[in-house]
Symmetry: C2
Subunit: 159 residues, 2 copies
DNA sequence: TCTAATCTTGACTAAAAAGTAAGGTATCCG
DNA sequence: CGGATACCTTACTTTTTAGTCAAGATTAGA
């Protein structure tokens, strides 16, 4: 189970754009340089984000990229979905749409796990915005800590 | 973000072995046939599981595989870790061990997300055993439903 | 209008994951 | 003891994903 390179760098690019002020833009070269990836690669990622409406771009000299919406209105689950189809894919669902048709129809014991984990991950991500990832006294950690202590309670209750 | 084919099929193989009684074994051919994968591929997976001590095998005719421990003593997080290094990998941690050295030391905004999600996923998985995946009236769903409603609460509280 | 800066797009190359094949070794049974 | 069955191990092929390159298209400003 892993997050793809595309997801990771795509998210990083958005984080660069998040602190920009009104009318400010970052060029592809600037973004790529800061991330240590090629401009070609960064261009591809930003094109995906642009197409999905997460960033907007201006062409020509003095052009560049910026967020299409406020940083506190962009949630992690949407970002991941844009960069990689869905927040959690498997053979179970990736080929055939959304967890329906499957070779093991009927006796597939792992379906509930995939579905359940998918939901756990999606909820955790839906609770985090780009804006939250910026602060130095990261309130992300408190958010995730809350979720963690919740599942710890759950595990305890079952035992 | 996705679960690899190796994780998915490895887990499925274990689920086949779980309901076996004392002294019963399944052969590679049987396992592969039921999953619709080649015996070569199944052999590879079971070898990994064997090496990790999750299944035990007997060679020669009348041989085969069975679980090395009781099904209710094998947890999902251990299985995934065995099949794929860790429950959740990213460029952040996969190369360099465990979330320490990173190109973006200092100003890496996504580190807390990776760490947090890793923990959420691991806890969710640690709360589920192979045995739980067998029942027809799957109590996995209740377990996961509890975790889900927990994170829903959390999201609500923050808002 | 010309030019330089910048985004856009598709084809190409390289790396990683998944899957396959084949020879080796242990066990049973006649 | 010898053949048949089934696990063990390494090396290879295919497929998928990631990353690069280069030419085209668009805009701002002189």
């Amino acid at each position: 189970m892993k997050v793809s390179a595309q997801e990771e760098y795509g998210l990083r690019c958005l984080l660069q754009l998040a602190p920009l002020g009104e009318g400010e833009y970052l060029t592809l070269t600037q973004i790529a340089e800061r991330e240590g990836i090629s401009t070609a690669n960064a261009g591809k990622l930003l094109w995906i984000l642009n197409k999905a409406g997460l960033v907007s771009s201006i062409r020509g000299t003095k052009g560049g990229y910026r967020l299409a919406r406020a940083a506190d209105e962009i949630h992690l689950d949407e970002i991941i979905k844009v960069l990689d189809e869905d927040v959690l894919a498997s053979h179970c669902n990736s080929y055939t749409g959304i967890l329906d048709a499957c070779v093991h129809t009927g006796n597939c014991g792992i379906r509930p796990v995939i579905v359940g984990l998918h939901d756990v991950v999606r909820r955790a991500m839906a609770g985090i915005t780009l804006a939250q990832l910026l602060g130095t006294e990261s309130n992300v950690e408190t958010t995730l800590h809350q979720i963690n202590s919740m599942s710890r309670e759950t595990a305890h209750r079952r035992a």
